[in-house]
């Protein structure tokens, strides 16, 4: 028996089921006369929702991660992409995804289900090119992509009207475009509802993560991965928003009863960027030191909406005061809401990300930070070396380990574990063994 009581998450199986359902719905959409579209985890998925309730998506990043999780399948995908001429150092989600098309195998069985259209957004150099290439590989699929790289949001920058206009304008163009390529008439009611679900999902996810400030932590990052993924799949869906509200209640209850994720918790760290999916055992290994990774800006901020303030630090962003009533209003609210996403700010300066990360170090009571120098994602590894310096300056020890979220060939397990040992020694943490 460890220091703290622990128990499995009750909603665990439901989360798994929702995920399975999502990938199955996409694959089977056509059988029921529905539509399929492809887009990234960061895209405005509320928008295609206006085409009807039988429109299903395949979000590329979590799909790439699903491929990566299966080493044998992933290797065949990666080599197929390389064989087609694409460099080994490109986004590894993207290479898994392309490879899955090239070998025409869906990670969940059967041939790769071709989408009817592509709805994507663009902030890192690969986002739009990912689908430009995918469209080519599938022999030409209509594509619309929204550029969201308009500069930092408050408190780091000012969201001037022309910035909102630019992004909103592209979305409104996209809606007209969608009607053309699908031949369906667009339903603003469904769109407004989906926007509201998006606000609910991303607002509630932040509240769930906030609960993890408790000692002992109610959730470890490994679990957070399996939960935040639902928002990366379909944050604008009712099922996602509802699930997060259910989840909030269960985690709140765990906290009140002092239920721990890691029964021997004696040290707390956070990671950064996507983990090497084929090697989540790194987090299990931490448990031998009674060390829990309570999350990261990545798990908190990719699908969670926060406000940041020098004194108050990070707080979940409150829900908008009122529902939008028109397509235009909904669009502007959606754009304003998302451009403030914590995971977007570092694209304009590592300084902003460092401030958010240091806030986490303090509020979530961390002993140190483990940065994953992720060769698989140049978007989220952007400025990570400067983050390391800033966090150290703020007085928190930092360890880095190189790896790749989706290409296991670039992860050295033995050497990484040796690094963890050395880091734990520097933190003065003795091995307690897993209880």
């Amino acid at each position: 028996m460890g220091k703290y009581p622990t128990e499995p998450l009750k909603l665990w199986n439901k989360a798994k089921e929702l995920r399975r359902q999502f990938y199955e719905n996409y694959a089977q959409a056509h059988d029921k006369g529905g539509l399929r579209y492809a887009g990234g985890a960061w895209t405005f998925d509320a928008v295609p929702a206006g085409l009807g309730e039988d429109v299903y998506s395949l979000t590329s990043e979590p799909y790439g991660a699903s491929c990566a999780y299966n080493k044998e399948f992933s290797l065949r995908c990666l080599e197929a992409a390389e064989g087609y001429g694409y460099a080994r150092d490109l986004c590894s989600y993207m290479r898994n995804y392309w490879g899955s098309i090239l070998i025409n195998e869906y990670a969940f069985g059967g041939p790769f289900p071709k989408p009817d259209f592509i709805w994507q957004d663009h902030i890192c150099c690969s986002h739009a090119k990912w689908y430009q290439t995918m469209s080519e590989l599938e022999g030409g699929i209509p594509m619309h992509c929204v550029d969201i790289g308009v500069g930092a949001a408050p408190p780091f920058g000012e969201l001037k009207p022309h910035k909102i206009d630019y992004v909103a304008g592209q979305i409104l163009d996209g809606i007209d475009w969608m009607e053309k390529v699908t031949g369906r008439t667009y339903n603003d009611e469904l769109y407004i509802e989906a926007c509201w679900n998006d606000f609910r999902s991303t607002h509630t996810w932040a509240k769930v993560c906030e609960l993890n400030q408790a000692v002992p932590a109610a959730l470890d990052e490994k679990s957070l991965y399996s939960l935040y993924v639902l928002a990366t799949l379909n944050k604008a869906s009712k099922w996602c928003a509802d699930f997060y509200e259910e989840l909030y209640d269960e985690v709140k209850d765990r906290v009140s009863r002092g239920v721990a994720a890691v029964t021997n918790e004696q040290a707390r760290v956070m990671s950064d960027t996507q983990p090497p999916w084929a090697f989540l055992k790194v987090f299990r290994y931490l448990e031998e030191y009674g060390c829990v990774s309570v999350g990261s800006l990545y798990t908190f901020g990719l699908e969670g909406m926060w406000d940041y303030d020098e004194d108050k630090g990070l707080t979940p962003r409150p829900m908008p005061a009122k529902r939008p009533t028109s397509r235009e209003e909904a669009t502007r609210m959606l754009v304003d809401w998302h451009l403030r996403k914590p995971e977007y700010q570092h694209f304009y300066s590592p300084e902003y990300k460092s401030r958010l990360m240091i806030a986490i170090c303090k509020q979530w009571k961390l002993n140190g930070v483990m940065l994953h120098y992720n060769r698989g994602c140049e978007g989220l590894s952007l400025g990570i070396a400067e983050n390391r310096l800033a966090i150290q300056e703020a007085g928190f020890p930092v360890m880095t380990f190189e790896g790749n979220m989706g290409d296991e060939r670039e992860f050295d397990e033995a050497r990484t574990m040796a690094r963890v040992d050395a880091f734990m020694e520097t933190l003065g943490i003795k091995r307690v063994g897993r209880a």
Binding site: Y84, G85, Y86, A87, D89, L90, C91, H122, C124, C125, S126, A128, K129, Y131, Q132, T133, S135, E136, M143, H144, C145, V146, D147, G149, V150, G151, K160, H162, K163, D165, Y166, G169, Q170, D173, F347, Y348, S349, P350, E351, Y373, R375, E378, G379, S381, L382, G383, I384, A385, E386, L389
Partner: protein, 378 residues
């Protein structure tokens, strides 16, 4: 006078320091990407200077930029950390790829250049009017920032002056490149590279004057016997590696045209004023210029542009320069190569680092030229 460009290339920092002596109170701004609207800097009588690397091994950037980013951005940052650009009054970037952005943000933090500006250049350039409208508004904010910094108003007349300077310089370079279409090019690819790269940090008028003189006099009847060499195109990532270009030409080729951001992509199109206010006209020029791959979507419009260059300049083959880890070009090159090969233009891909492994590259280039050569050894 064509050797002037090489002198400028080798003495880039001395030139800027001299310029400041000659222009008391004049400001020099270093910029990181060719999407920076120099017209506005020129309107404020600022000397824009493109920040480039020195192609020397270094050990100062490891703490600041993770090794998976391109050697070019690390080489650029190294110049700042080693104090070689200590004469800069300001430094700025126009949003393009993530790699060079890190050189800029680390420079902001660790190199004490007094003034800096991050200009959000849009990516969705194919949305034309949306992007133009957005960029024009950003340019207006940028203009204000420059005014506040210099304490000097920038009027439409000033902007028009900046536009004219840039357009004249661009026209001169395009005319120089025209000469390379000749069956017997009057200048080598190396000389052309010196001219093209220096345009990015020499006073535009001064540079244009020399280019004009070269065209009208020295190059008029010049014969370097380049007619017999294999004509090559150079395209891909940023490349100002003159040692590399010399090696390629010494192997028995002549580079007649290029498509990269230290070459033709920089001066390919002009700002066209008709009707538009100056800022909108400037915005439109950068939105519609030959795009960096990171902005070339949803359509691949670069394919046609690159192919046309190769055909108009009658290149027998193309050397693809892939800056190591340069994702934008890694996302572009496979299709570019397929398209060129499909049209009968053979390609050789080389991966550039800060310094090039001469031996390993020489053998590839020579073998490539052998496959292009007509000599029958059989």
């Amino acid at each position: 006078m064509i050797e002037m460009f090489q002198e400028w290339y080798q003495a880039r920092h001395e030139y800027a320091r001299e310029w400041k002596k000659k222009n008391p109170g004049g400001k020099v701004v270093g910029f990181f990407c060719t999407y920076v609207p120099e017209e506005i800097l020129l309107a404020a009588d600022i000397l824009p200077v493109r920040i480039l690397g020195s192609h020397e091994p270094q050990n100062v950037t490891e703490p600041h930029i993770f090794g998976m980013y391109c050697p070019f951005c690390r080489d650029c940052l190294a110049q700042g950390l080693e104090g070689r650009y200590d004469y800069l009054d300001g430094v700025m970037i126009a949003q393009s790829c993530l790699h060079i952005r890190q050189a800029f943000t680390s420079w902001q933090k660790h190199v004490n250049t007094p003034w800096s500006y991050y200009l959000p250049m849009p990516h969705h350039v194919q949305s034309e009017d949306r992007a133009v409208k957005f960029y024009a508004a950003e340019l207006n904010d940028f203009k204000k920032a420059v005014e506040d910094w210099t304490g000097r108003k920038i009027g439409d007349e000033d902007l028009k002056r900046g536009i004219e300077k840039m357009n004249k310089s661009r026209q001169a370079m395009r005319d120089l490149y025209e000469l390379r279409k000749r069956p017997n090019p009057p200048l080598s690819g190396l000389e052309a590279m010196y001219a093209a790269v220096t345009e990015q940090w020499i006073d535009k008028e001064e540079h244009a004057v020399i280019v004009r003189q070269a065209i009208d006099q020295e190059l008029k009847e010049r014969d370097l016997g380049l007619g017999a060499k294999t004509r090559l195109m150079l395209f891909g990532s940023e490349d100002d590696d003159t040692g590399f270009v010399k090696m390629v030409e010494d192997c028995g080729s002549v580079i007649v045209v290029d498509d990269h951001c230290t070459g033709s992509r920089y001066f390919w199109n002009d700002v066209v004023l008709d009707g538009d206010d100056p800022l909108t006209a400037i915005a439109r020029r950068y939105i519609t210029r030959p795009a960096c791959p990171t902005k070339d979507w949803p359509e691949r419009r670069r394919l046609e542009h690159t192919l046309k260059l190769a055909q108009d300049w009658n290149a027998a083959g193309a050397i693809v320069i892939q800056q190591k880890f340069c994702d934008p070009h890694e996302l572009d090159i496979p299709e570019q190569r397929r398209n060129l090969e499909k049209n009968g233009i053979k390609t050789l891909m080389l991966e550039l680092d800060v310094t090039v492994p001469v031996g390993q590259f020489k053998i590839r280039v020579e073998a490539f030229l052998e496959t292009l050569s007509e000599e029958d050894l059989f």
